[in-house]
Symmetry: C3
Subunit: 166 residues, 3 copies
């Protein structure tokens, strides 16, 4: 922790911190509002997106629930997600906390905890999953973008109804 | 997102961001600790407070679960809420994330995701509802206040036991 | 609230705010990843750690679920927790929001809301408890540390399976 704190005070300005927090907020809002094109636009051209379980992540297994290598695949995922979720009337809500930022050359290594809730038309709001984002963020002009986002869910019982990115 | 990020870097300083985060924290703490007068004091004289469902909000329907037009009505709501909740021994907990801020003239357009949990005396902690705050915040001297707060809940099945503001 | 906001603008810089947010993030990550030694290293030599219920806290009762007086007892707790949780394959996830900071001499009085979720091997993710952190934070060189952390849970039905700190 002391190392992290030290580097922050040396290298990561408030502007950068808020820029990254804004990227996280924009990402969550895009998914919760079903704006999948805006979700895809949170990534760089060569970005990696991966949704995997804690078990696979800790064992270093390449198996993932969703895996996208590059913006093309992310755009495809955005398109198929908007097609498949039209028939499913549910609201998603992302809650994110504990964002930590470490400068790494010109990039930033960022991590955070997430919780996703869903509300079906005829049911009360319920927990879908919790987990951790492990990210690499870059600055492109005035924009902050994900060069890499790995979503590690805590659950092994992955609900098959979830076609959407986390 | 790029527009939002750009405007932030131009216009919203760290002091303003933290001031708004403090207002959000003070608002949650007031509700969770049953200090409804302090809750009412988070609003300006002419403030609007509205608690509505996602469906009504998206259709632009004026129907709301709670609607207050001006501080007088908000004070009234604070008073009736403290009267009605005395008999109901439960603890509420507000979790808020993804606060985004955009300068709009002298005001700030702010949005965030929320999750409310409750703990009844004889039960485990459970999710009450999730949703989104859509706000207009103003600065009055050193104080940040809500000129308008709209709480949009994700659920249609609104628990009738909830008389309290969200 | 106005007092709090005023003091913040006078005394608590963005660097201090982010330093405290980083301490909170490091604390949560240490517990969620089972790094109990790192958890213990979030405290000063003479730190107090207490986990208690809302009822006991409000009545000023000294009874606590966990009580540690000084780093020695915190280190002991870290050791016993790692021993007892090995046999229990579950993932914890801390979500924290509403961090408020007030300068008090050279120290900082900090409070925040928390939500803890757990995922057992064969179950969906579920809420364990919600509550409030009431803390005193000090700066030791470049490091932010807890001089005191009191975790006040909202629940009376405290699950006996929870041996871990909150």
């Amino acid at each position: 922790m002391s190392t992290l704190t030290y580097q922050r005070m040396q290298a990561v300005s408030a502007d950068i911190r808020f820029g990254i927090m804004d990227l996280y907020a924009a990402y969550s809002a895009a998914l919760d509002e079903g704006r999948y094109k805006d979700w895809a636009d949170c990534f760089t051209t060569h970005a990696e997106y991966r949704l995997t379980t804690k078990e696979n992540h800790e064992r270093g297994l390449p198996i993932a629930i969703i895996y996208c290598d590059g913006k093309g695949m992310i755009d495809d995922r955005a398109f198929t997600t908007s097609e498949t979720t039209i028939s499913q009337p549910r609201a998603l809500r992302h809650i994110v906390s504990g964002i930590s930022v470490r400068a790494d050359g010109d990039d930033y290594r960022v991590a955070a905890d997430f919780l996703i809730l869903q509300t079906m038309l005829d049911r009360m709001t319920e927990v879908v999953m919790s987990g951790r984002y492990i990210d690499r963020v870059v600055v492109d002009g005035h924009r902050f973008l994900f060069e890499s986002r790995v979503c590690v869910t805590d659950t092994l019982l992955y609900p098959t109804s979830i076609a959407a990115p986390a």
